[in-house]
Every structure is written in structure tokens, then in C-alpha cells.
Symmetry: C2
Subunit: 145 residues, 2 copies
């Protein structure tokens, strides 16, 4: 169901301008208006869903296949691109800003100054194997439910 106030629905319905790279029955691929680096793309399912859990699985898989193709296209282009990041923010706590699921694909180049902001006291600390095994056991059960 398209949402009248959703920027991506408005783009899909041609009510807002967009620079479109690809469009098919499942998704649209556009250039991000506020890019990390030039060539930053968004792969957007046409059906409006805020959360990743609600997105049709085939559509998600198609988006991933397109992400690979866009990665290759970026590397073939004249846009500075030594590497590529894929990124999804699912939920406000994860940094989601437009509440219509989308997959970011953006080029990176050496010295681009972009990266993660983190705290060594909290993030990327080596885990204890016993805790990792507990997490694996819990998620294994939740995966089956």
C-alpha cells in the first residue's frame, strides 16, 4: 500500500523527481540525493514496507542480485570507486531515516574520510567463546520459531 507522505512512494509514483538507474516490476534503483560519496545508490522495493521483516523474500533476493550488478557497474564507471559498501538501516535505532525499506550501495575510495564512529570500550571487543556459544544456541532456536 503506497503511503501518501512517503518520499520513496512519491518517487515510485513519479510525484517527486529522481535520477533512475533501473526499474522493474519489483524495485527501483535511484541516485541518493545526500550521498556518502558520488555514485551512492538506493535499491528500493516498490511495495511500501517500513520494516525489513515485511519485505517479500523474492524482492529482497532480487535487490541483492541488483546490488551485485550495481557494484560491478560502479567499478566500471568513471566515478571514484576502489571499494563498495552495502548497508541497510532497519529501524530508527539502526539509523533508518526514511521508513520505506531500502538497500544502500555506495562507492568508497582511499582517503574518502568515511567510516564508523565507535567506542573501543564498547564496540569491537573480543568476545568470550562461552558467551558466543550461548548467543548461537539462542538464535538457533529463535530461527526455527
Amino acid at each position: 500500500m503506497p503511503h501518501e507522505s512517503c518520499t520513496f512512494c512519491q518517487i515510485i509514483n513519479r510525484e517527486l523527481p529522481a535520477s533512475i538507474i533501473h526499474e522493474d516490476e519489483k524495485v527501483i534503483v535511484i541516485v541518493d540525493l545526500y550521498p556518502v560519496n558520488e555514485g551512492h545508490l538506493l535499491i528500493i522495493p516498490k511495495v511500501h514496507n517500513s520494516e525489513m521483516r515485511a519485505v517479500n523474500s523474492e524482492t529482497l533476493q532480487h535487490a541483492m542480485q541488483l546490488a551485485q550488478q550495481m557494484n560491478v557497474a560502479l567499478r566500471k564507471s568513471n566515478i571514484p570507486c576502489d571499494g563498495v559498501n552495502l548497508f541497510v538501516a532497519d529501524g530508527e535505532a539502526a539509523g533508518q531515516e526514511i521508513f520505506h525499506f531500502h538497500l544502500h550501495v555506495f562507492p568508497r575510495f582511499i582517503g574518502d574520510g568515511f567510516g564508523f564512529r565507535y567506542d573501543r570500550a564498547r564496540h569491537f571487543k573480543k568476545s568470550q567463546r562461552i558467551r558466543m556459544d550461548e548467543i548461537a544456541a539462542e538464535l538457533k532456536i529463535k530461527l526455527k520459531l
Copy 2:
């Protein structure tokens, strides 16, 4: 072809320990030893490829389907999880550290202190439509090649 010095190949071959959540013919899903937050997972294709472009498309699609399932499992678990990020670093310039393609799935929670490090003078600046249209036109061509 497995690479003897590759950490992920060694995990897949049971030559290094891992906390395994899921395994099938295409991929293995493990708990990250150096998590952003607790519950940080890696979805790793079994076939060794450094670059995303070389990964079998069906395997990539399967990884994305599993990422959705892992997202749901994390939210059902007791691990703090208000949101979820998906992340791929393809290439050293993109922050890749282990050169065997993998998809990160990690929980986020309000106040976790994690985010992007960027420079307002270079990143997330509003683009000019004329330049966005040029980028779209170039990538459209490169996508077809």
C-alpha cells in the same frame, strides 16, 4: 577453492573454532568474535571469493534471505535489539578486513553509541540534479555491459 590462510575457510573446514547458528550447502552463519554489539552475526558463503562480484548470485540471494530471517530471530531473542544493520565491506577501501566475502548482520539499540564517522564538508551533501542525472545515465550504460 579454499585458501589455507583464510580465517573463514578454516572455520568452514572446522580448523578454527566458531559459534555456528546455521549451516547449509551454500553458507555458514556464525557469531562475530569482535562484535559491534552482542548478537553480531556473519553470513559467509562456503566457496572462497574475496570480492562480491565473484560470489555466485544464487548464494548471494540465499544470504540475503537468511539475513532477513536472522534479523527476525535477533528481534525475538533476549539480546538488546531495537534495530538491525546489514553491512558489506567489499574491498580494502570499503573497510574489508577478511578477504572472503561476508555479510554482517548486527543488532542496534538506542544509546549504543555506534554510528558513522563522516565529514559534513564531504559527505551527505545535497547533490545537484544535473549531476545525479549524469551519474544515472552512466551507470545505466555500465549496467548493461
